[in-house]
Symmetry: C3
Subunit: 455 residues, 3 copies
């Protein structure tokens, strides 16, 4: 096996890091409220508690997504390792790309809230990573993130600051965008090599590691949806997210018990399947995001979550195999976890907006919907749908465009079929050899060396 061309990755990454350093040096400074010379600054005090939400979101990105993707039995090092690299790469890059839209006198000024925003963008990149997981080289993952960050930032700018769409939990601008960008990319990239690949399997231990990721995502998700809000909106976002997640996890178990991956196999009929439990249980967090701070009441949250769980589980069962047949191989099923629940959540936010009035929101109507006094409720609903539509279109087109670049630029070093879903190409993997003594009962006892490579 020819060696992985690490230096090519290293040289480009090194150049990019020098570039980031220069941009940080010339353009990035502390925001006034954490700058010693401006302290104490009464005009815009920092929100101390924001840091705790930020920490939870960090947990979701590094631990949650990282371990969730460890489910592939031979791609664990790559999943957790490249996820880690994409995290730090994207945080640096997103600080710059988000910052250029909010310059304060030639400077990008940052505090922990800007780090939090960078991590929201990061979530979109990691979702796209899930769609192409196991099928690209580290160089390609990095190039994908390099190109996705500005597109994602620009799409969010369009939706939030031009359309004034509300989306507290980034259902539209992160989940839906990341999913369809990744799917666009995967469609162009994957061809047919990835279908029914022998390495695309889990092991008992890899599934347990993956559950760690699932549960970390589950418990920290309220902070993702509530992290950008404040006061009563923040608290509603917490309550709605917890309840919606309960609904999706609950219904995933229910639907799972009616369906089977392999219908012909009586032995596994109705048995629980880790693929569903690891993923569809989280769909409620995605779906409720766009409405998280709205007055949807607990039953609304429970309903959204329950439907999302059903949708997502059925997606893993029926839609992912169908997409694979048309050569759209989606490794983590991001269409089921982020794509379809994202669309559902986006539509939900339009419905919630269409009935919003001051009877439901009191004096906070303008705080929740910034254009509401002048814009009518149904107009707001229209803008919600417009933002959703643009996100899907920009995501798919952008992803496909990036996919074409990654596929046909020869420097990219795309893994061959037998290197897919396999750490061996990119990592030094410990060999597990055991010297086993075999006692043969009928023949003479003899010592047999068994060369076992497995994990």
């Amino acid at each position: 096996m020819k060696s992985f061309q690490g230096p090519k990755f290293g040289i480009l990454a090194f150049i990019l890091q020098i570039g980031f350093l220069l941009i940080f040096g010339f353009c990035v400074r502390y925001k006034d409220n954490i700058d010693a010379t401006m302290f104490p600054s009464t005009s815009s005090p920092f929100v101390e508690n924001r840091y705790f939400y930020f920490q939870d979101v960090q947990g979701m990105m590094f631990l949650g997504f990282g371990f969730l993707m460890v489910f592939l039995k031979k791609y664990g090092f790559s999943s957790i390792g490249f996820n880690f690299f994409l995290c730090v790469f994207t945080i640096e890059w997103a600080i710059i790309m988000i910052g250029v839209k909010h310059l304060e006198g030639n400077y990008i000024k940052i505090n922990v809230e800007d780090l939090l925003n960078a991590e929201f963008t990061l979530a979109a990149i990691l979702i796209s990573f899930g769609a192409v997981l196991g099928k690209l080289s580290p160089l390609q993952y990095m190039l994908m993130a390099l190109m996705e960050v500005p597109i994602c930032a620009w799409n969010e700018y369009l939706g939030r600051e031009k359309f004034h769409a509300v989306d507290a939990g980034d259902t539209i601008f992160v989940h839906t965008f990341g999913a369809y960008f990744g799917l666009g990319c995967a469609w162009v990239i994957s061809g047919k090599d990835a279908r029914e690949h022998e390495n695309e399997e889990s092991s008992y231990n890899s599934d347990l590691f993956s559950m760690l990721g699932t549960l970390v995502l589950w418990i920290f998700w309220p902070s993702f949806n509530a992290g950008g809000a404040s006061a009563d909106r923040q608290q509603r976002a917490v309550v709605n997210t917890v309840i919606s997640l309960c609904g999706s996890a609950f219904m995933t178990f229910v639907i799972n018990s009616f369906i089977t991956v392999d219908e012909s196999d009586e032995k596994i009929k109705g048995k629980f399947n880790m693929v569903y439990i690891q993923n569809a249980t989280l769909a409620g967090g995605v779906a409720v995001g766009a409405c998280a701070d709205l007055m949807i009441q607990p039953w609304g949250a429970l309903l959204i979550g329950s439907v999302a769980g059903i949708l997502s589980t059925l997606g893993y069962r029926y839609i992912t195999p169908a997409l694979t047949r048309i050569y759209l191989h989606d490794t983590c099923g991001v269409n089921n976890l982020h794509g379809m629940p994202g669309i559902m959540g986006g539509i939900g936010s339009a419905v919630a907006a269409s009935i919003a009035d001051s009877k439901i929101y009191g004096n906070t109507l303008t705080i929740v919907f910034s254009q509401m006094p002048t814009r009518s409720a149904s107009e707001q609903a229209g803008y919600q749908l417009a933002a959703l539509g643009c996100t899907i279109a920009i995501g798919l087109a952008g992803g496909a465009f990036v996919g074409v670049l990654l596929r046909f630029i020869p420097i990219c070093d795309k893994p061959k079929k037998h290197d897919l879903f396999n750490d061996n190409r990119f990592w030094t993997v410990p060999e597990e050899t055991s010297l086993v003594e075999v006692y043969e009962s009928d023949i003479n006892p003899s010592v047999v060396k068994i060369d076992m490579k497995k994990f």
Copy 2:
């Protein structure tokens, strides 16, 4: 092997979720302080920091209990998966069952504090789950939780609002109740099938996963004991709990080094045993709970934790095997981790109450003990013991009653002996087959296929 009758579970769960949705729809609303129309509401502001305690408790329930129970080498999917299901099931159900006692004008009104209370009740259910782990079907686990939640909520109502017993860390109303409910249930259920079962073993990896659960529980435990309190009481609960946990973990290592599971085996004499380290180290968190916010001083906390660690370790060594001999099979040893330390903590709270006066508590005496001006210290101590006694009685009787139902209702689909402690009955488990080449030294080399199923 006949297939697991998943649909039976699914149909009942689906009906229950529809029921929960209807109850939420007709009866559950946001609490005023997170309702947009009532904001800003100065009369009962939300406590923003409560959310961070809630997050820690979520970590304990989903990650902590979940992974702690993964120690069984063939029951990891079930442990982490059914724990997950019981979590979301119980949160929904407990919101309703706790809420009916505090209706505000026909509505159950909730914010993050009510979610926190629901998760405290959840802890009791997961403790009971530990006692019957590996011995029931998912349907039975769900039915157990369905019946346990109202009993638990009613017992706590009795103790807190009728007896006015103090119990900041829910030592009595959660740990003791959950343990004896689970033991009552396990006694009726388990019969003798579970004794010396070949699947009731750990593996190297399952023990490491279990340590993850232990450590998550350990580090977040202060939030469990302090989450319901406030001001100086909350801070004391944190300090007392950390110190008590240090005491129990310390003494577990000490006592472990004097005892051996198998006394006849010289090779393991005095060696550390993962069973003790995973469990008894946490006993200090249980035992100190009822006194967590009281003025027990750091030495009091250290003493309580140290004694609890000794008690719990000896319980795992001597009492669990004894109970197994009388057909009371307690899979996780909840009697040692939650039962006995819970009783100890309950008695401790009576002692602490019996010496409480305004010299120790200053102006906060009435805040800590709500009846104290009219009730004498020794009366309070009596009520503490009454609450403890009722809890044990109601727990044991309730558990046994539920156990009888689960055992004898034929729909329940109780696993047969060879399905105990085994994921295969309920989960699609990845098969780990390796094609191994065997080079035989003395005979002709031949390729041998070894069909290995293991994890």
Copy 3:
């Protein structure tokens, strides 16, 4: 194999715990601001949020360090278990040792801030533990911690309260001290037995567990560096630490792709190696610590982190093997992760101090550098270097002294060569035996029993 002499460990630990209990009983009380009789105390209110920083630091100690060290495939129980024991041992002991320097009327008075300080000291002990990991008995680990805590507390007292050196993230007083204490100890202890030991290897699963530790440390590190600060300094510490960690993780991947552990092996050339990714990625957190709350600007943090990542990765590649050749075996490479980045960070703090003036720090100059009005900037820089130099000298000498004691006192029960890096000596390890049926193709089928012990 002769049994592990557990009781010797148990007897000494028991005596120490009795001693701690007596000291707590006679000398340790709640701090006034959490004492019920003093409440509400306006004079020194508790800082409620400090608890959340404390929780994060607890996560780093118990989960982060614990799992990071699980990378050794046969020493996982010991790594996670003894790390746990050292945690609780050190918290109790450090409360006393730090407290004696700040007596309030004959009493050590504590609240959650003092627990946080105890955990900072704990970090130093766990770093030293990393240097000797796998080479000592539990008794020796405990004795090492027993002697290291007072030396560490005294060195910090010297640096902070005599030299008035600033070190928000404990780069000097914890990381540098812990690393060189551990190296001093390891040099004396390890001799040559540990070199090229067959057990000093990772497995696929142990590397994944170790990544869990890495990521927990990474995401919680901002709380370590910011936990002791407040207001704008605390927020700057968060921002600087996140950015510096991004820099080190980024550059670790870059440098890794240029170097190979075994240069002669074409197959692994440029491949990523878990040793670097698990460790050097964290070097930015260490290096930025001493400047974390200073006005180094985001580019300064990124630069410090990037250089630290390069330094640390090259250290693992070239310096650790060189040290091993001169019999200084450093199991976790603490010299690369904590030692050299610590020195770098200490020098960085001197540079930052040398240019500090009121133009950069405004009115907060005195808050950041307590001696600054009377002491000049270059004098402050000199004291920073003095604190660093003393720390290295006291660490190395103290570690070597303790190492000599541990090596030559016969009671210590030092493991023999074949027991190094091996749980079997101290733990009851589950045996994984499988009965495997071997179908031989050319000969008669026969049932063969294979006795497999592996993990």
